[in-house]
């Protein structure tokens, strides 16, 4: 994936950006407000896409997906949601990018997913504290931490299962394209 041209990169980011938005929208629709879960907490299925793109294109790609998600949140849910999405996404992507450097040796996608979810929640909580001017809100973090542990494991586990299949599709396309151009 390193030597792909800019057209490929734009298309790759476009497809994955759209996928992230659709996943975010789907979880918003499908998952009702379950009483014992922290309010406002979501599984963060679109973080699967962010992790995948960061893994295959580096931190720049992941940040692009974050910007796309924040722009979409700005249009559909307003400035507050956008700021929370952006701050959570930025922290999460940077943390994921750092841990991905040690993937296979120290961490698997599960651990990286947990840290990504944690940083995402932490970033959003920081924005909530900042906008409301109340640092005491950080006490809500203990609920979000448990939730991040679960959702991070789910998203990381999903990516572990999906990755071999996606790579197989990618390599098939690469072979076919080589056949056409060669």
């Amino acid at each position: 994936m390193k030597k792909e041209n800019s057209t490929y990169r734009v298309a790759f980011l476009g497809i994955n950006g759209a996928l992230a938005l659709v996943l975010g929208f789907l979880e918003h629709m499908l998952i009702p407000d379950i009483p014992f879960l922290p309010v406002g907490a979501k599984p963060g299925l679109s973080n699967i896409v962010t992790m995948y793109v960061t893994d295959s294109m580096g931190v720049g790609g992941g940040l692009c997906i974050t910007l796309i998600k924040a722009a979409f949140a700005l249009i559909t849910r307003g400035a507050t949601a956008s700021a929370m999405s952006l701050c959570g996404g930025l922290l999460s992507t940077v943390a994921v990018a750092i841990l991905l450097k040690h993937r296979d040796r120290l961490f698997s996608f599960v651990g990286i997913g947990i840290v990504g979810a944690l940083m995402h929640n932490f970033g959003q909580l920081l924005v909530a504290c900042f906008i409301s001017g109340t640092p005491a809100l950080i006490s809500y973090g203990k609920y979000l931490m448990i939730f991040a542990l679960i959702t991070g494991t789910v998203t990381g586990g999903m990516l572990t299962l999906l990755m071999p299949r996606v790579e197989r599709i990618n390599s098939q396309f690469a072979i076919r394209n080589r056949g056409e151009t060669g």
């Binding site: 407000d33 840290v115 809100l137 203990k142």
Partner: protein, 127 residues
């Protein structure tokens, strides 16, 4: 069940470290006595980070409604809750009633924060 085996096999040392650390921090956070005494709770409502309403929860035996920002907040001696908010998602209303010291909830779009504090304030007033 081959995928299950593969999943557990993929867990690395770093993952276990992360999981254990997160569980440990969460446990400490839940058990830590940050919250102070549970009796004599004080209600503080903030707008834009400034305390605009305060009340001793034990004195609100008949219940009282506060209107701050676009939010209606109801408090009685049992606890406090958001009744309504003009914001679109109304997550604050869904959170329900808070009853414990240290509990905080917010309507972020309206910049309204409701916090319950432990009863240390009387201590300060008596010097």
């Amino acid at each position: 069940m081959s995928t299950d085996k593969k999943l557990t096999k993929t867990l690395k040392k770093g993952d276990l470290f992360i999981i254990v650390t997160v569980i440990a921090i969460t446990l400490v956070w839940f058990l830590a006595p940050f919250s102070g005494r549970e009796d004599n709770l004080k209600l503080v409502i903030y707008l834009d980070g400034e305390a605009v309403e305060t009340a001793q929860l034990s004195t609100l035996t008949e219940g009282k409604s506060f209107y701050v920002g676009g939010c209606e907040i109801y408090a009685d001696s049992e606890g406090v809750k958001f009744v309504s908010s003009v914001c679109s998602d109304s997550l604050c209303v869904k959170r329900g009633t808070m009853t414990r010291a240290g509990d905080t909830m917010a309507c972020v779009p309206e910049r309204v924060v409701v916090s319950l504090k432990g009863g240390s304030s009387t201590h300060i007033e008596t010097y």
